[in-house]
Structures are given as structure tokens and as C-alpha cells.
């Protein structure tokens, strides 16, 4: 735990991205799995709905992410070395562009940018396929895109949690359970949107199967959420004492998990309105989870009480498996021996900022 950090100021755009990105990824991988193992004609309508949700939402997510940047026009710097691209552009030496892609496998934000791009392509193809007949979308190429999209969808659902964990911020970096939690929540919120949109038109049997999958996803999320709370250990009380912490814990637990689980387990299927209510509850809870996680950390930091400072001693982490290997070139780097995680960019001519230097 570290209370000496600065707040990155991630706000509504990022919360919106985490929420909608989770739904897009969750609905895509669920749609793919249903398409692969479900009962062709009967369940196809559900998988169509999943594919029709994923692509528009991921486009909205890309807009949110770009708007969150302080320099939105430089969004492409996430994937390409700007120095190399600009030099190639100026000198018209296009062959240099082969050195332009920037991929840091140890940085969740870098790998996430590529994953989003691949997911966007796959979800676009599946989106188009969802308007065609079944026999037109069972070709090997289409299936390949679907399966790749499914795996990348799982990744997109989880990496946002890993991105928060790979920081030094309070709460975020104090647990390894954000990535699994976001993934479980992506599944439940993705299914919730599918249930909402499917309930008026899809067959009862398919709806029953989707509800069964939702109950499983919610049960899994419930378990992961409890482990997440346990992993916060001594930080749990300070988290609960914040406004956003209450939204996170109570909101997620009650609205996101307990209420929909009770509706499902008490035979909510007998009333379509029950399914709708459960789905809306899951979505509100899923939003509260993302909002609570993102906002609790800065609120706790702003309080930064002496008690928190006293709690900064290292402590065991639940699920803290020790991995023996190094992950990324910055780990174990010795000064002067290598560039570490620097991808080898060269600084352009550095113009001294001082007026003294300029003789002004």
C-alpha cells in the first residue's frame, strides 16, 4: 500500500469505458460460445443479439478512450512510435515504418490498445455476420475470426482490471483480484444486456438457457467479489469509510449480485418482468463496481489519514502467488547496462528551456 502517490484523474470517460467495454466483451464471448455449442436455430437469435451489441459498444469505447486523453489527436501514439512515423513522413522513407509499431507486452495499456483493435475487427465481422443467414456465417474464416474475437474478448474484459493493478495506487495495486472480478462482471453484464434485448423475442427455452448461464456467471462473480474484499485485508475498513467505497461494496453486492441472484434462484423466469428487473439490477451493480473501484482510490488518497500511513508496511496478499520469472525488461535492470523498458526512442534535439541559456 502506498499513500504517497498522485491521482491520475481518471474519471467518467474511463468509468464509462470500463463498463461498456465489459458489456461488449462479455456479450461477444458469450455469443460466440452460444453460437458454437448452442442449439443452432433456437439459440442463434441470442448469439446474434450478442454480436449486435459488441461492435457498436466497442466503437463508443474507442471514442471514450480518445476523449479521455489530454491530447486526443495523438491517440495513435498508443500503437506506433511517433518519432519513427514522423521521420518516415518527413523523409518519405516509408520502409522505416516497419519499425513503427510499439508493443510493450508488460504494459497492460500498450497490450490493451492492440487487443481493442483486434477485438474491434473481429466484432465488426461478427456484427456484419449477424445480419446474414446461419449457413453464411459458419465458414472456416468467419469461425476463425469468431474464436479469435472470443479469446481477445476475454482479454478485453480482464485487462482493464490488470491495468489498474499494474499501478501504485491505493486499492487498485493492493489486490490481484481486479482483473478476475472485471472479467466475471463483464460476463454477467454482457448476459444482462442480452437478456434485456432477447426477452421480448427469443424462445422460452433459449431464454431459460441464457438465464442459467447468467446465474452461473453471477455466482462466480459473487465468489470473486468476496475474495476481492478479503484480499483488501486491513484496507477494507478505510475503503468502507469512504462514500465511493460504500457504493462499491454495498452497490455491487446488493444490486449487482444478491438481488439478481435471488430473482433467478426463486424462479424469476416465470415472469418476464422478473428477468428484466434482474438484468437492470445487474447493470446498475456492474456500473457501481467500476465507478466504486475507480473513484475510491482518489477519495482515500485525498483523506490520507495518519492511520493509512501506518498501514503501509508490506502484508501478505490473498492469491499472491509468487512467480519466479521476470516479467518485462525493467525488472532486475542494472543502471547503465541496458535501456530497460525504453523501446529505443531517440529524443529529438533538446531545446534548452532557460531564458538564461537563450541569452534573453
Amino acid at each position: 500500500m502506498n499513500v504517497f502517490v498522485a491521482d491520475p484523474g481518471w474519471g467518467w470517460w474511463i468509468i464509462g469505458y470500463f463498463f461498456l467495454g465489459g458489456i461488449a466483451a462479455g456479450s461477444y464471448f458469450m455469443a460466440t460460445l452460444i453460437d458454437l455449442v448452442g442449439r443452432g436455430g433456437h439459440d442463434q437469435e441470442i448469439s446474434r443479439i450478442g454480436f449486435r451489441i459488441a461492435f457498436p459498444l466497442i466503437v463508443v469505447c474507442a471514442v471514450f478512450l480518445t476523449l479521455d486523453l489530454e491530447k486526443p489527436n495523438r491517440f495513435w501514439h498508443m500503437m506506433f512510435k511517433s518519432e519513427v512515423v514522423e521521420r518516415a513522413w518527413e523523409t518519405k522513407s516509408w520502409g522505416e515504418l516497419i519499425h513503427a509499431p510499439l508493443f510493450k507486452y508488460w504494459s497492460p495499456m500498450s497490450i490493451g490498445s492492440w487487443a481493442l483493435t483486434i477485438f474491434g475487427i473481429c466484432s465488426f465481422i461478427s456484427f456484419l455476420g449477424s445480419f446474414r443467414s446461419r449457413h453464411e456465417t459458419t465458414g472456416i474464416v468467419h469461425r476463425c475470426f469468431q474464436i479469435i474475437g472470443c479469446f481477445v474478448g476475454f482479454f478485453v474484459a480482464a485487462y482493464t482490471g490488470a491495468l489498474l493493478t499494474a499501478t501504485n495506487q491505493l486499492v487498485w495495486s493492493d489486490t490481484p483480484w481486479l482483473a478476475p472480478l472485471f472479467l466475471a462482471s463483464a460476463a454477467s453484464t454482457g448476459i444482462a444486456v442480452m437478456l434485456l434485448l432477447a426477452s421480448p423475442s427469443v424462445s422460452e427455452a433459449s431464454l431459460a438457457r441464457l438465464q442459467r448461464a447468467d446465474t452461473w456467471a453471477l455466482g462466480l462473480e459473487f465468489l470473486v467479489f468476496l475474495i476481492f474484499l478479503e484480499s483488501l485485508s486491513s484496507l477494507l475498513l478505510p475503503v468502507w469509510q469512504t462514500v465511493n467505497g460504500k457504493i462499491l461494496i454495498a452497490g455491487t453486492l446488493i444490486l449487482g449480485l444478491v438481488v439478481p441472484l435471488l430473482i433467478h434462484l426463486s424462479g424469476g423466469l416465470h415472469r418476464r418482468s422478473g428477468l428484466v428487473l434482474a438484468s437492470i439490477s445487474v447493470l446498475i451493480g456492474g456500473f457501481m463496481l467500476r465507478y466504486g473501484i475507480v473513484q475510491t482510490s482518489p477519495e482515500l488518497l485525498a483523506k490520507s489519514s495518519p492511520e493509512l500511513v501506518k498501514m503501509t508496511e508490506p502484508r501478505p496478499v490473498v492469491g499472491g502467488i509468487a512467480f519466479p520469472w521476470q516479467f518485462g525488461p525493467e525488472q532486475g535492470r542494472v543502471p547503465g547496462e541496458s535501456l530497460g523498458a525504453d523501446p529505443g526512442n531517440k529524443v529529438g534535439p533538446v531545446v534548452p528551456r532557460s531564458k538564461v541559456f537563450k541569452g534573453e
Binding site: W10, F29, R74, E330, A341, P343
Partner: protein
């Protein structure tokens, strides 16, 4: 290639004059942080510390730490000029997705403004709260270790301005030797709490800007055990894969089982 350079900050001789802060502002052409009253900075009421933290325009920060005995009959001041640590294993450089944060030939960590797109991942990764976003350039800002001066063979402005040699600049190996000697002298003088922070590999592989402290690191606002962000990724990913597997399994069972056996009639 020049050898790695660094700062050795001996907090026991810092007098809190803020010459380093002024020199940094002047050399780097940094404006004063505007306050709410006519753009003038306000008095914080926090000892003599009116900038209070690092910011986009305060790349150095002199801390005034007041310590009182329980009955408040005795008081002491700890002062420390804080700056970017230019870590050997730099969290900001590690997470930066644009490659805007890079390592110079002097082994210092430098933000290349034109490449930065303001994603703020470096802010969340820095364990020392050093990096901030500029409201003018909209890019990440921090100490450059006076890269422009180093290229001209000049020492950083803060080290040159420090009147008590609390901030010392030079080759890293030489500075560490000098600092170790100072700690031994202080121990002989009875200052047994004197120790070095960041001189060895225990803190992020070693800090190019390390400190001589006479209290716990937390007293100075420094974390004892900062971590490199990538250390969390494998175990976080492992549990995510486990949950992904279970999620997929649930979906497969929900749809596969019913595919083999026709579902019972359910009235809606």
C-alpha cells in the same frame, strides 16, 4: 556512453532555503503555481511549505517536517529537497504505452513531450507522486534532470544552486561511496538512525536520486517498499485466466446440456 549520474541528497544539511526550487523554476522557465487570488500563490499554513507537493510546475519540492515531543515541549525540523528519483527500474517508463518516457545516455528518465498523449498511466504508476499533467501543454511533466544542461557538460541547476551541498550531483558510483562515508561518520557522532534510502537495489533496483535520512522513509513521505507495476501482472493474469475458464465452462454447460436434452416446458 557517459557513466550513470545521479543526485545524492543529504537531508541532514538541508536548511530549507528553497534555492533548488527557485533554480529549477528559473532554468526550466516554470511559472509559479497560480492560486485563487489574482493568480498569486497562497500561503498553505503548512509550516514553510507553500507548494505542498510536486506539480506540473514544481519539479522540486522542499519538505518541512515538524516533529514534536508528546508534551510538545521539544520540537525538531526535518527538511528535505525532493525530486524525481530517476529509478533504475522505473515504473513510469515501464507502463508508458507511447514510448514517450525514455532513458537518456546519462541513465536518467526523461519525458519526451512531443510523443506524450496524456494518458496519465505514468502518474498512476509513479510510487512517489512525482509526475503531473500540465494544464498548458497537456502532457506529463517532471524533472528532466536538466538534460539540456547535462548535454552541455553542466550540472543540474538545483545541485549548482544548493548552498549547503545537501544536493550533490555526480557519477552514481562515486556519490554512493561518498554517501556511505557520511553515514558512517554520522553513526560515530551518535546519529544512529542515519541511513541511505534508494542507494542499494532494494528500492526499485536503486534510485539515481537517493537520500540520506535520519528517520523512517514514511516520515519524509517516501514509501518503504514501492513496487514495479509489472510485478502484479502475472498473478493478476493467472487468476483472470482461471475465472475466464470457469466462465466459459458455465456457458458451455448451460447451453450444451440443454442441447442434448430438450428443455422442460416453462410458462412465461
Amino acid at each position: 556512453m557517459p557513466e550513470p549520474v545521479g543526485f545524492y541528497t543529504d537531508t541532514t544539511v538541508c536548511i530549507g532555503c528553497k534555492a533548488c526550487q527557485v533554480a529549477c523554476h528559473q532554468w526550466n522557465d516554470l511559472p509559479a503555481e497560480p492560486g485563487p487570488n489574482n493568480g498569486l500563490p497562497v500561503l498553505s499554513g503548512d509550516s514553510y511549505d507553500n507548494t505542498r507537493s510536486f506539480s506540473d510546475v514544481n519539479w522540486r519540492h522542499v519538505k518541512f517536517i515538524e516533529q514534536f515531543s508528546e508534551d510538545r515541549s521539544q520540537a525538531a525540523w526535518l527538511m528535505m529537497s525532493d525530486v524525481c528519483k530517476h529509478c533504475a527500474n522505473a515504473p513510469c517508463l515501464e507502463v508508458c504505452p507511447t514510448g514517450a518516457i525514455l532513458r537518456t545516455e546519462f541513465d536518467t528518465v526523461y519525458i519526451n513531450g512531443p510523443a506524450c498523449n496524456g494518458c496519465r498511466d505514468c502518474i498512476s504508476a509513479c510510487p512517489f507522486g512525482v509526475i503531473h499533467i500540465s494544464s498548458r501543454s497537456h502532457t506529463a511533466q517532471k524533472c528532466t534532470f536538466c538534460y539540456d544542461r547535462l548535454q552541455q557538460g553542466m550540472p543540474p541547476a538545483c545541485a549548482q544552486a544548493c548552498p549547503t551541498q545537501s544536493i550533490q550531483f555526480g557519477p552514481l558510483a562515486e556519490l554512493k561511496k561518498r554517501a556511505q562515508g557520511r553515514v558512517e561518520r554520522l553513526h560515530k557522532q551518535g546519529v544512529t538512525k542515519a541511513h541511505l534510502y534508494g542507494a542499494d537495489e532494494s528500492v526499485l533496483g536503486g534510485l539515481n536520486s537517493f537520500y540520506l535520512l535520519v528517520d523512517k522513509p514514511e516520515t519524509y513521505g517516501l514509501p518503504s517498499n514501492p513496487k514495479l507495476p509489472s510485478r502484479s501482472v502475472p498473478r493478476s493474469s493467472f487468476w483472470a485466466i482461471v475465472v475466464a475458464f470457469l466462465t466459459g465452462l458455465g456457458a458451455l454447460f448451460a447451453f450444451r446440456e440443454r442441447a442434448q436434452h430438450p428443455p422442460r416446458e416453462v410458462r412465461l
